[in-house]
Amino acid sequence: MLSKVGPGPDVERPVDVGPGPALVARPPTHWARSGALLVVLAIALVVLVVAAGASGAFQLSPGEVLASILHRIGLDWGTPPDALGEDVLWEIRFPRVALTVLVGGSLGCAGALMQGTFSNPLAEPGIIGVSSGAALGAVLIIVSGLAPFGTWSITAAAFVGGVTTVFVVYSASRQNGRTEVITMVLTGIALNALTGAVLGLLTYFSDDSQLRSITFWSLGSMAQATWPKVAVVAPLAIGGMLLAPTFSRRLDLLALGDRPARHLGVDVERTRRLVLLLVAVLTASAVAVSGQVLFVGLVIPHLVRMAAGPGHRILVPASGLAGATILVGADLAARTVAAPAEIPLGVLTALVGSPFFFWQLRRMRSRQGGWA
């Protein structure tokens, strides 16, 4: 500690940093920023939930929405809307908002987990084909009319489809302890093409009502939200999001590469299998009720990283919260921008997300000096 070795090049030492007490703890600004981000996101989520409850063909004021919520939890405050307004709010809008929160949270969280476990900022359930794999599983159940697990059949099929694609991509794109970007994206293209072809085939042979269902799956929408659907997804989404932060420390270490992580005591293969299983649960539960809502898992973790740094202890929960917030906002836009018509939510997220993906791809290529 006392022996400073040589004078050292002065360019690298703008200020003389001794081992003073100011350096011993992490600078407070880091935690302050992370905490502020979580608070801002939580406030934004509440505001958007109230706004989503108020907007639509049947107009309600934000005060009425707030009063109605408070009444349900036993607080007498303000004047709730009339019986019709209550019905619109609790039978039509809030199931949709609740489902959007769960789906957005799941996708944001799954994106952060996936990028962490592949050590690759381009890994996203939609791009590498997990979402379309899950959608294919769900559509197969719809078209075949089979229901081996009752109301859970579609969710279960989406889950199996999601898990299968995760592990196909995983085994195809890893080499020497790293995930090659190009192999991963190409594997995703191949899988998306395959599922697209099978979906096309199923579309060709389906009747009118099935066709509507399939369109819903491939475009992604929250329009078919009901409380029973919320009840099916909630345990998987909430359970998954509660488990996700337990992997934070190990995901941090995986950023060093597989071998260094192993040298620090991480059981790399086991961790990766568990995290991918978790990603499949979160993605499949989201896809099972909303169809393919793409790019949320790509964009959200990146935005959070810019605001609060790459540490997964903040990144994973904040991506879940940010995913929920942004998707509630996006769904509000999807159903109000072109009212009375509704833009499919998945189309909207893809419109915003794909240019972002393009930009990321270019950035990564220039950093790596091109892919030969």
Partner: protein, 273 residues
Amino acid sequence: MALRSARRLGAPGRASVGEVLVAARGVGVELGGQPILDSVDLSVAAGEVVALVGPNGAGKSTLLGALTGDVALAAGAVLVCGRALGEWSGVELALRRSVLPQQVTVTFPFSVRDVVEMGRAPWVHVDGDARGGEVVERVMVECDVASMAERQLPTLSGGERARVALARVLAQEAPILFLDEPTAALDLHHQELVLGLARARASAGVAVVVVLHDLALAGAHADRIVVLSHGRVVADGPPAEVLDEDLLSAVYQHPIEVVPHPRTAAPLVMPRR
């Protein structure tokens, strides 16, 4: 996860100088049916710096990989602190040996301090990493990276990144230290800094194994030099004994001169031109 370890992990006790901490016994490694290492024997004791040298393809990095457990053995055994590699759990092993890899890449824009703190990961299982903050500060100063603690890793030069990686490895405080070509990206000043730090760790009772290309550096900093050629150990001894013109010329298949330094008499190794 600290919750899961009902049985608290013990950190290794301080080894006494001379106690063998790493040993290879008749180690053989094959890659794609080709023998890369053939019956290699090697012992490294607490308090010594052992340099692995040899021409390209001699098996230096493979031997290091075999010692760290990254490369599967076709024959023989590797003992760490007296027990076979496979008998330790990942965390137990991480408390006993740290490894500086040849290439240092970190995927996301972590700060220098974040990366150095990662070296403390195994200690969370021992005592919740009670001494973490203090150790991280000390190794950052030692490795000359304290002034860039809050900078993001992708903004650093290759040499700066190499020192950050070293700081992370030293923060692990393991009694065995493996370094794979730690000086490759460094200028003269930082080469001396890094090998000086390895030397200081050895004096404190750490067993250091370092892969080096530069024979003069090996001669100046190592207690013992192990020369590998075609997957076999062809010499193992103190620099004065191993840095022999005939031996090196044969191993490198190039005429080599060894001359004493005019002031210190340390052996200088150079190709005959």
